[in-house]
Amino acid sequence: MLSRWFDKRIRYLFVMPALIFVIVMMAFPILYTFRLSFTKWSMSATRPPVWIALGNYVSLLFNDPRFWGAVGRTFAFTLVAVAVETVLGVIIALVLNRETRGQNFIKTLFLLPMIATPVAVGMVWLLMFEPSIGVINYLLGALGLPQGLWLASPSQALASLIMVDVWQWTPMITLIVLAGLASLPREPFEAAIVDGASRLQTVFHITLPLIKPTVVAAVILRTIDAFKTYDIIYTMTQGGPGFATETLNIYSFVLGFQYFQMGKASALLMVFFALVLGLAIILNWLKKPLAV
């Protein structure tokens, strides 16, 4: 009796754990944040959230220069970091793909940064960037090159953070592109050699078009990830100097856990959520004509 009941519904039962997980861990927090974003609440146990309708959104979008600054920096960080990572990642993959001795060793070496914990990476780079005792300025000085202030300069801090992101995540693009390269057919290349194409021509006219779908997939993954970078920025600058590296994620953390404005922080996260969603949709849409 009971077993028949189970048998009939077995396809639903098997997805239940995943479904429950998604509802409890993802759908509920998003809906709860959505509701909080219309209230004013300081996490108080005695004073419940006060409904203020669109108040938080109005103050964010129209009265908060810090918010728009953070939006600009988030996009700048993502665009520049992902662009540099893609170009470098593809080049490194093309170089590594040739069969040379010790290739596996070199591959492993390149992948190391990706494995390191972002917080630890941030702490180490923080020390290396230190203007008076850090190793980077020491080396630059020893070579007679001009030294930088790096994280301590409002104009160089964001670029310095991008450098760290590039260092850490270029290997991911390389890894994905390498996988794509490994699956390419041999025939087009043989045909190119027969036709007398130069090595550069082969790369531009055969290899790159063939791996385009792989590269696009890598770029999408990386873009969404870079968009929500938090750990390295928080460990290295906490959004400073001034507000020079404050991205949306950092600002939402500050609003929530330092200013106790949970409502406004929730509103910001909803805007952020919409931005990430929009970005994903646009990238997906771009992917279609590219991926042939």
Binding site: A45, S132, L149
Partner: protein
Amino acid sequence: MKRLLTALMVITILVAMSFSVLAAEQPFKGTTLRIVLSNHPWTDAIRPLLSEFEEATGIRLQVESLFEDQLSQKLLVEFASGTSTIDVFMQRPLQEAKQFQENGWYTDLRPFAEADQDIDLDDFFPSALLAETVEGVLTGIPIVTEQEIIYYRKDLFEQAGISVPTTMEEFEAAAAHFHDPENSFFGFVSRGQRAAAVTQFSSFLYSFGGNFDVDGVATLNTPESIEAFTYYGDMLRNYGPPGVLNMSWPQALAIFAQGNAAMYTDASVFYSNMLDPEQSDVGELVGFAQFPAGRAGSRPYSVVSWGISMAQTSKNKEAAWEFIKWATGKEITLAAQAGQVPSARTSAWENPEGVKSFPAQLVEVIMASSEGSMPYDRPNVIGVGEARDVVGTVIVTAIEGGDVAAAANKANRDYQAILDREK
């Protein structure tokens, strides 16, 4: 037979009663308290003494200690959930007391203290208790106090024949004299990071005759305040190390401790880091001096940096009070102060045992600093995090050499908005 039974029963009851009398000396035997502390010299000082408390009371202590930022976040998340099992926690009254009280996260300790004279509240600095009192509620018992002082290099000042600065003019002249950036040696170092700098800037603000606000009116753009911002910014830009904008105390202290700066202004608690040969190359060479006098005299802050509190959600409040009373009692306070933790108890400061571990010069400076000192080192509002960022932007502008007056005007408007919101 019946008699025998009765007699047995009587004896049993008597024995049981005498046991319960014994047990009454340890009324909380078997209780477990969850205690969350900060990684602070105070915690290090009392940790070895905790087993004494456990033996004397039969209470079991479950102690966690975290770095201060993580501690704040843990408290927030646990208390906001409403199901926290924390009984006792360390907190920073100036940073958190108002907001935590507003959120109903504290148990008022005043009724406990009034019912239990052992704590002897009169022994605490009155200003320290005031710092822990929000709307009449005693939110915690102060355990650590600090003042802003000047750390300077005794050896260099002696060599140069310069006396230790007592005014802002002499302070700047001394910084200019020692500043030698070609050789990576700087006249002055202090914090430059937006929010972190605000507390150490506050003494400059007060000494120039400024303040964050007066009677609910923001005063960040008064001529006195602007002068203070400009002075602090100029000092760090002209005589400070490069990269000061990204410096909180660990970075600034490191520059001084590695022998790369002549003067450093920060909280008095860091003297033990300076003297520790593992953290500092300048140990014996460090001198301590009172904060320099500006137009309004020498007005450093003198604050309670840490207190210990009882959570509203604690299910063992009586036992928790027992622990708080023990940990802040005269005996333990004296022991902690002997471990180089400046306390808020008069008795510990008057006891020679209590000041033995402090350099004599430092004790003099701490005592002198109490005169004319200010009881807070940051904007005294609920939204203190936000207010610190507002004030911090002006400091950053000043260090960068930007338009201080314009930045101060904008900050004043933003700060007034925070003040108005809380009225």
